[in-house]
């Protein structure tokens, strides 16, 4: 049940009405029930894997805490316990997400040595949200292991933490300490808070606008270009990946807004996963704003345990590279994601190493680094580097990505900008204009967020009622009329749904 499916428009109101009407002590149970039903609606195997992982991490948490209380003599057992339980969770993730990739690459190696291939023992499935809830469980176990939090004793609360439906499919990766607190507190919440409800609804409408009017409309073009890149020249291909660059952000942020909105109406706060990343002046800043919950997770549970920046400059570079390689692999079981991650790792290292040189040059040339133009150029530079990396992210295979980049450089066809060819690739001129208008609005809102840190619900809530209503009506009606949905369109899942 995607957030854009008809079923969700029935599911959510039912969930909300009951949630608001039932006594406070039943709220957690109700949310758990509907969250499990939400997963069950996809596949009963998905539910089984979620429950097994949850039970495993729940039991491991209690076990680790018990050993922690016993102190130093049990330290080795605790380490082994932590190692085994994380390994088990990673085993589940690998079995579901990476087994096919491992077998495929293993077979390639075997073929080099003349040996026969191996087939997958079972048909592979990728349960929804597995990449997210496994990371949540690992961070929970790590925090318990470090003694940062105590293990959760209430299995139902813990299961709700791992399965809470607004964040299940595409995050954010919530930390146990903050989220379990919310779960425990929800029984006593005063739910009838109109500001919170209207804020949640505003966020949801804004999310649907981003998804249906911008992302899914642009996706028609980028899918066409990446799907048939051999038919197109430099301009179409450059435009295709640029469009994908904007589409992906609108898609991810759209999902996040819907998830935050739905959770907000229920009284829960989900962390902001996208904090105006396309206004970032450097890739380092970009990664502090893009998929924040994943970035901070990788920082806390991969980069810092690897040594972070405490073990010299070279080790820092290596740690950065390794962290981004893992990030790439997390995004998908394919070599192009690995290359995408490696590219970002290299960008980080290069940016860090070149920073003193750039600063020296700027000082020598008296460059006005605070000027609008200089800042704008830095933003564009960040975009360009990102866009190049996105060729690997979006392409089906490494070979396709290489072919795509080669054609961008070699098949110069500027006339397509003028002869109307761009309007024959699934998106008409009027649809382009509609998507562009939506994109401008999207960036205006993001600009406000970048400058003030305020989300659209907060900003809109401060405006006069006429503007507020007009704006909301415009968003809703735009979704209805301009949104890419209905019999003429394929239902598109959110981009991060498959990770």
């Amino acid at each position: 049940m995607s957030f854009t499916s008809y079923q969700f428009f029935v599911f959510l109101p039912v969930v909300l009405v009951c949630y608001f009407l039932i006594p406070g002590r039943w709220r957690r149970g109700w949310l758990l029930l509907v969250s499990l039903l939400f997963v069950l609606h996809f596949d009963d195997k998905y539910l089984l894997i979620l429950l097994v992982s949850t039970l495993l991490s729940y039991a491991a948490g209690l076990f680790l805490e018990r050993l922690h209380r016993r102190g130093a003599p049990k330290e080795k057992a605790r380490r082994i316990g932590m190692f085994v339980s994380v390994l088990a969770l990673l085993g589940i993730l690998t079995a579901c997400k990476y087994l096919g990739f491992l077998i495929e690459n293993g077979n390639r190696i075997l073929r080099i040595f003349g040996a026969g291939g191996v087939k997958a023992p079972v048909s592979l499935i990728l349960p929804i949200g597995i990449s997210y809830y496994i990371l949540q469980m690992i961070s929970y176990l790590a925090d318990v292991y470090r003694g940062k939090i105590s293990a959760e004793r209430n299995l139902l609360d813990f299961t709700l933490y791992t399965s809470f439906f607004p964040k299940l499919m595409s995050g954010p990766i919530e930390r146990a300490d903050a989220f379990l607190l919310q779960i425990r507190a929800c029984r006593s919440w005063k739910l009838w808070n109109w500001e919170r409800i209207s804020g949640g609804l505003t966020l949801m409408v804004w999310g649907y606008f981003q998804k249906l009017v911008i992302a899914d409309r642009l996706a028609i073009f980028s899918d066409e270009v990446f799907g048939h890149y051999r038919q197109y020249g430099s301009v179409e291909l450059a435009l295709g990946v640029t469009v994908f660059f904007f589409q992906l952000y609108a898609d991810c942020n759209g999902y996040m807004s819907i998830a935050q909105g739905a959770a907000g109406i229920l009284g829960f706060t989900l962390q902001d996963n996208y904090n105006a990343p396309y206004f970032a002046h450097s890739l380092r800043e970009y990664w502090s704003r893009w998929h924040v919950s994943l970035s901070t997770w990788l920082r806390d549970y991969v980069y810092i345990p690897l040594g972070g920046n405490r073990k010299g400059e070279l080790r820092k570079d290596i740690n950065l590279l390794l962290t981004f390689l893992i990030s790439g692999l997390w995004h998908g079981a394919s070599w192009n994601f690995v290359v995408w991650g490696a590219l970002h790792g290299l960008y980080q290292v290069a940016e860090r190493r070149l920073e003193p040189i750039v600063d020296a040059v700027n000082r020598r040339l008296h460059t006005r680094t605070q000027s609008f133009a200089y800042r704008g150029m830095r933003i564009v530079k960040t975009w360009l580097l990102n866009i190049i990396a996105f060729v690997f992210f979006k392409s089906a295979t490494l070979k396709d990505a290489a072919g795509y980049l080669r054609r961008i450089l070699c098949k110069w066809d500027p006339w397509v900008l003028f002869d109307g060819s761009l309007y024959t690739m699934g998106v008409s001129e009027k649809c382009w204009k509609a998507a562009l208008a939506g994109l401008i609005l999207f960036f205006v809102m993001d600009g406000i967020k970048y400058r003030t840190g305020e989300r659209i619900d907060g900003w809109l809530g401060r405006q006069c009622i006429w503007f507020r209503w007009g704006f909301l009506l415009m968003l809703i009606l735009s979704c209805i009329v301009l949104g890419a949905y209905g019999p003429a369109y394929d239902v598109r899942n959110f981009a991060y749904f498959g990770f």
């Binding site: 109109w194 009506l473 209805i480 009329v481 209905g486």
Partner: protein, 490 residues
Amino acid sequence: MRSQAFCLISGTAMKWFKLGNAGKIFCKIVLFTAILTAAFLYIQQTLKLDMGHRGTDNVNGFYAEKEDSIEVLFVGASTMFCTVDPLVLYEDYGIASYDFGSSGQPFELSYLFMQEAFQRQRPKVMALEVLSIFEELDTSKADNLNYGITDMPFSGTKLKGLSDMFRRDRGKGLSYLIPIAQYKDRWQELTREDFEEKTVNYAKGAYTPDLVSDAPLDFSSYYEEESAVIPERNLEIFRRMLQLCKENGTELLLFKSPNVGWNIGQTKAVEALAEEYGLPFIDYYALMEELQIDTAQDFRDNSHLNRYGSQKASDYMGEYLTSHYELTDWRRMDADNSWDIALREREHDRKNEQMSRIGGLPEYMSRLPYDGHTAAFCVSGDVTGMEDFLRELAKAFGLDGEKLLEGGSFAVVDGQCVSGLIGPSDGEWFWEQGFDTLRLTGYSISYNREMYQLVDDGLTIFLYDNEWGQFVDAVGFDAYDPAHGVRQAE
């Protein structure tokens, strides 16, 4: 009055301020939802595809009819509304009837049409064209469903009917209940017509153009199939139709229009069905000879009669209905009814239609309807051979004939020249009605930004219907060949 209004507003405001926070929020939600719903319905109405005679006009027209005013209702697919012309039935027999159908109408949809009809009308006779009785509902044929369903207003009957038709895939039925899901992308192709509300159907649902098929129809396949079976589901629907008519005290009449593809086996099956339930059945195929329906002249294509064929079929239907049922002759009523108005509209329409087909200048001028019309004339280039005619024309409207020969234009509204002569060195002259704008210069006529300069040397005439607010014709007559008018499409 003003003080009363002030009291009302201030009283409402006072009550508003006395409302608690929850009350205010509730009122805001209700108001916002109402505005959103109104905007949604307007947008949905605008975006819906206008299917003209295939559905929109017939369906909207039916709902615009006065309640309990129709005595004979015809239901079925296009073969129905191309065969029976309610205006012929009224003009010649005084029968108040309506063709409530849609193109390619599936049999199950005919049942929904009957159910809807009984919500507003109590016809004495329900005449069902049986073309689709042999075909089971195919929900993948979206057009055939859209023609009939899109413009049908939301109602419990519609909801129930769709739920029954889409019993195997209710989600799919939802897009027929909320048409915007299917038509939302039409925002890219909206034109002025989409914003104009069309309700009354002056043809009373019939579509009988005077087009003639390219070749005579070949009915030789009629005898190829000796037997045919009506699907069980359609038999069940048929029984429901019977029951529905019975409950409403309406007589059911079956008929079949002639069309290539129908066969004798199907005729026999329908005959057997009619006999089983004691229903009359009019088989037009069997009557073709008697009615002198000509396969070369009376059809517009393989499935549909044209105006001439429909006239013959309707005459027969009128005689049959008056001789078998007790129907009122509505022509004898004093007050104008909608059929009287429709007849006048038809007359008006046919006059306009004739104008757009006249080829020669003398005939065109002799039949040019000045009353209720605006005519614009533009003379350009070398008019040798046309001088006398143009002098006469100028004289008739009090203009200088010699000046007109040098080129220029003028407009005549309801027989009066309102523009004077606009010469080549004069400026522009505008005439407006509603959103329509006519612009004259010394050498051209433009209507809504489209220029009509149909001949280089001669006379261009533009004709506009003031009463209906629509373009009628634009024709150019070359000075060297005024017997053959030139129109834009040619």
